[in-house]
């Protein structure tokens, strides 16, 4: 039997009613092994205006490079606030296998949903100054000058990594056809 996947539709402006009851901004409560990190960022539209009705979901491996373990599920969901900001507290993921069994650099997958998008945007968050980035098989597919958009900026004044979702323009974030 062969069926076709149901057509995607926008989350619309009222996504909060159905989706933010399950907001998960702290993925790693006490007891989860790994290096504690915070990631925050802003979603910005083609006019440079913050998008206050978006939602970012992340999916990541544990510090040991395992997906979906009992102690660390690795899923987060953060709606943007009036300034377009989302935020997560988590642990730095370990390395996981990529195509051909080659290890990928530590990364976090992101799905971004909002009014004005008929399907989610897919992107990835990498970490600055990680030597593994140079050999990451997915980053290698991205034009060199745009890779910077997938790399969080090193711990800022609040101690958080900063990773922004720029929807359009010269600094437009790299989005994937997943």
């Amino acid at each position: 039997m062969s069926l076709q996947a149901t057509t995607s539709q926008t989350v619309g402006p009222y996504l909060h009613i159905g989706l933010t009851p399950m907001t998960i901004e702290n993925l790693a409560p006490a007891g989860v092994a790994g290096e504690r990190i915070s990631i925050e960022g802003r979603v910005v539209d083609g006019d440079g205006k913050p998008v206050n009705d978006a939602m970012v979901e992340i999916w990541q491996a544990s510090a040991a490079g395992k997906y979906g373990g009992k102690d660390f599920r690795g899923f987060g969901r953060s709606p943007t606030d009036d300034n377009g900001m989302f935020r997560f507290q988590t642990i730095k993921p370990g390395r996981v296998p990529g195509p051909g069994g080659k290890l990928q650099a530590p990364h976090i997958a992101a799905n971004i949903f909002m009014r004005g998008q008929l399907k989610q945007l897919v992107s990835r968050i990498y970490f600055p100054d990680d030597p593994a980035n140079a050999e990451d098989p997915v980053l290698a597919l991205v034009p060199a000058e745009r890779r910077v958009t997938l790399t969080a900026k090193g711990a800022g004044k609040s101690g958080a990594f900063e990773w922004n979702v720029i929807l359009q323009g010269k600094d437009e974030t790299v989005f994937f056809d997943c």
Binding site: T6, T7, H16, G18, D53, G68, F175, C178
Partner: protein
Amino acid sequence: MSEITGYRRPSPGTQPDYLFPKYVSTIKRAPTRPLVILPHTLTELTGPVFGHDEVKATDSDLTKQHAGDPIGERIIVSGRVLDENGKPVPHTLVEVWQANSAGRYPHRADQHDAPTDPNFTGAGRALTDEHGHYRFVTIKPGEYPWRNHFNAWRPAHIHFSLFGPAFATRLVTQMYFPGDPLLPFDPMFNCVPDERARNRLISALDWETTIPEIALGYRFDIVLRGPDETPMERKS
């Protein structure tokens, strides 16, 4: 069982593009640079699992979340979640949200001059059973105006959010009602050229799930991306 190596790419015309100018909000929000094709690695082939500690049985009855009964036509919305190979997707989280029977959301961004209903929030969730079945009890949502174009009205709809087994199977969609005269005019419903794909977003009146004297049933089956066939499974 063979190992999953990737999920199928969509058939042409069945999934929307990011830029769809008739839906005006896409113009400032759609990517303008080429997308990078992502191979499906372990990251995309795995996904979060949700359980009954997070979903209470009462979460699937939207008419019983407050002290009184919501105003409106009580309905039962149910169906199966399958993958493209026709295999049921068991134990997956389904989240829904919708307007009340007057076409109003209890949300600060909704300024439509229609009454809110203190007995209706319009949010529900459920896990599919081992055969991929889900079921919600709710009230039929109302149509409502929006400002996309002159005299724009959304057809009645229920928003659905699903996870499936992997990051790559995540789907947010909307369910519509059969015979809704607004459907031909709705940019969201008409966002893909494939007419059959559009029509699969329309639920069907379902006598099997209709409860006599209580509530009409509407059936809405949802198909998530299916695993690609591995070369070994392909007939030469």
